[in-house]
């Protein structure tokens, strides 16, 4: 029951990374850093017995409870959550799909501002995560490194003198670090430049990942750029590697937006305004269609073509119209077709402000 209260509290507001502020936040949605850590005297999750999993969970929890900073933390036993609640946390990027779908004892600790979260018994025993709005990798690194130091106080991590932090998958060994920057690149998609841009990134190995959507990948023109390797470079070097790519992507996206405006501003204005019109007036709408139009509206707002909707609202709607969020906010489970109706209602009330007509278009 207490878990439910904490979840409802989370659902009722939006986390720090959705503020839509921070450097370059017209294009950079969020900066995230995660660290993979394992306890040295337990097998990796794959070979853990239920007793092992319980013991790991207890050890991590005891450690966290002793931290002053974590007195307000939401500690959730993921194994006791319903499917929709687990999905809600995935949509919110507070847990991974792997943790949501796993079995056995597993948990997540979330700070109320949703900047930090610690997953317990995911692919590795501990997955620490720090997330910020906009481009703020240095801040994120400082915070997560401090969190890592605090947790380490009473936990003996699995470490190898040569290989560094040991992880269940050899692709994470060494630093256990994954740096990810989520970008909104609609103009590069419209102008079909996105592949060319990815090609220009070849010289450094980066991961490109699409985000969100119930079926197809890359719904909403969100892309995530991450480091691929974790061994043989310092954390600062790995962060630097991603940091150097992001301004290039921002620059390409801005140039593509400028190109679209120069080419035919009226067409672009028409396109983003129609997108807003559909979102404000549709009577039923799927998650993917919503992402598609919200993406256009977001670009319209950034280019000053739409002035009536604040950026924070758009960012929130991307998350709040996801299936599990919608059901949490509605207060009960909904079939897919009912969700589409509810989603349309939700969009209308948040974008049209209860009026019958869409907010003033420029």
């Amino acid at each position: 029951m207490q878990q439910q209260l904490k979840l409802d509290e989370l659902a009722s507001r939006c986390g720090e990374w959705l503020r839509g502020t921070g450097p370059e936040s017209d294009i950079v949605i969020s900066s995230r850093i995660r660290l993979a850590r394992n306890l040295g005297d337990f097998p990796f999750i794959r070979r853990c017995s239920q007793d092992d999993r319980h013991a790991i969970e207890r050890t991590a929890r005891n450690r966290m409870e002793k931290l002053d900073q974590w007195s307000t933390v939401h500690y959730l036993n993921v194994s006791q959550l319903s499917e929709v609640d687990r999905q809600f946390l995935v949509e919110r990027q507070l847990i991974s799909r792997e943790l949501a779908d796993a079995e056995g004892s597993r948990a997540v600790a979330i700070d109320p501002n949703e900047q930090f979260s610690v997953m317990i018994n995911e692919e590795d025993h501990l997955r620490l995560q720090v997330m910020h709005s906009g481009l703020a990798l240095e801040n994120a690194w400082q915070q997560i490194s401090e969190l890592d130091d605090m947790l380490e106080g009473a936990i003996t991590y699995a470490v190898h003198p040569q290989y560094g932090y040991l992880t269940a998958c050899p692709t994470n060994v060494g630093t256990g670090l994954r740096v990810s920057v989520m970008l909104h690149l609609p103009a590069l998609v419209i102008t079909r430049q996105i592949e060319k841009v990815f090609r220009s990134l070849q010289k450094i190995s980066v991961t490109v990942r699409g985000l969100y959507g119930e079926g197809s990948q890359f719904t909403g023109d969100f892309y995530q750029v991450s480091n691929q390797i974790t061994l043989g470079r310092t954390e600062q070097e790995l962060i630097q590697q991603v940091s150097e790519v992001v301004p290039l992507l921002i620059d390409y996206e801005r140039r593509a937006r400028r190109f679209l405006i120069d080419q035919n501003e009226q067409d672009l204005h028409d396109d983003v305004s129609r997108a807003l019109g559909i979102l404000c007036t549709a009577k039923k709408i799927s998650s993917e269609e919503t992402m598609h139009y919200l993406s256009k509206v977001r670009m319209g707002v950034n280019l000053g073509l739409i002035e009536s909707v604040p950026m924070k609202k758009i960012n929130e709607l991307f998350i709040q119209t996801q299936p599990a969020h919608l059901q949490k906010l509605h207060g009960r489970l909904l079939a897919s077709s009912d969700r589409n109706v509810q989603r349309a209602c939700f969009l209308q009330s948040h974008l049209a402000g209860g009026r019958d007509t869409p907010p003033g278009l420029n």
Binding site: D41, P43, R47, S96, T156, Q162, P170, T171, T175
Partner: protein, 182 residues
């Protein structure tokens, strides 16, 4: 790292969040990445494991590979075959036990075999001691399963001694769990 569909270097590393088996990573060359990204059809199932397996096959004879596959970690019991298939190791001691076989793989993935970043402030127990703790716990669970509670309690005491003794308490006889080639 090579492309999963051809011999060219993989420069695109794409993670699918939604798939029948949960998230999976695909490593592709530019040409295959383009096909992959533009296709509407469900994405091919490609796990880290297959990429790893491919790396391992290079330069190894069938017999060598079969022998390697049978090799098992004395601490957690995972065989190299299981690792190849799942792409996940069984315990921290695997990095010591399978060192010879893992190192080329690490070099392939990371272009390096040496960590130069942050290290824990607390000194970790030696790999052998940590491995011994995992081993004791496993033996203890087996004893309980076989209702050999006497043995289970002996093992539990040993585990407690090992855990409470920090590095100093760890008996050197905390036998090197690795036998042979570590």
């Amino acid at each position: 790292m090579k492309c999963q569909y051809c011999e060219k270097p993989a420069t695109f590393h794409i993670t699918e969040l939604v798939g029948p088996d949960g998230p999976s990573v695909t490593h592709l060359c530019e040409e295959h990445a383009r096909k992959y990204l533009s296709s509407e059809s469900p994405t091919p199932l490609a796990a880290v494991a297959s990429a790893l397996a491919k790396q391992l096959k290079l330069g190894q004879t069938k017999e060598e590979l079969a022998e390697l596959d049978r090799k098992a970690c004395p601490v957690c019991g995972i065989t190299f075959y299981e690792f190849r298939n799942a792409g996940r190791l069984g315990c921290p001691f695997d990095y010591t036990h399978f060192r010879k076989d893992l190192e080329p793989l690490l070099a392939n993935i990371h272009d390096s075999v040496e960590h130069i970043g942050k290290r824990p402030k607390r000194a970790a127990h030696a790999a052998g001691v940590q491995g011994r703790a995992i081993q004791l716990r496993r033996e203890m669970e087996e004893a309980v399963e076989h209702e050999d509670y006497e043995r289970a309690s002996v093992l539990r005491d040993q585990l407690r001694a090992l855990e409470s003794g920090d590095d100093a308490g760890a008996q050197p006889q905390a036998e090197q769990p690795g036998q042979g080639d570590c």
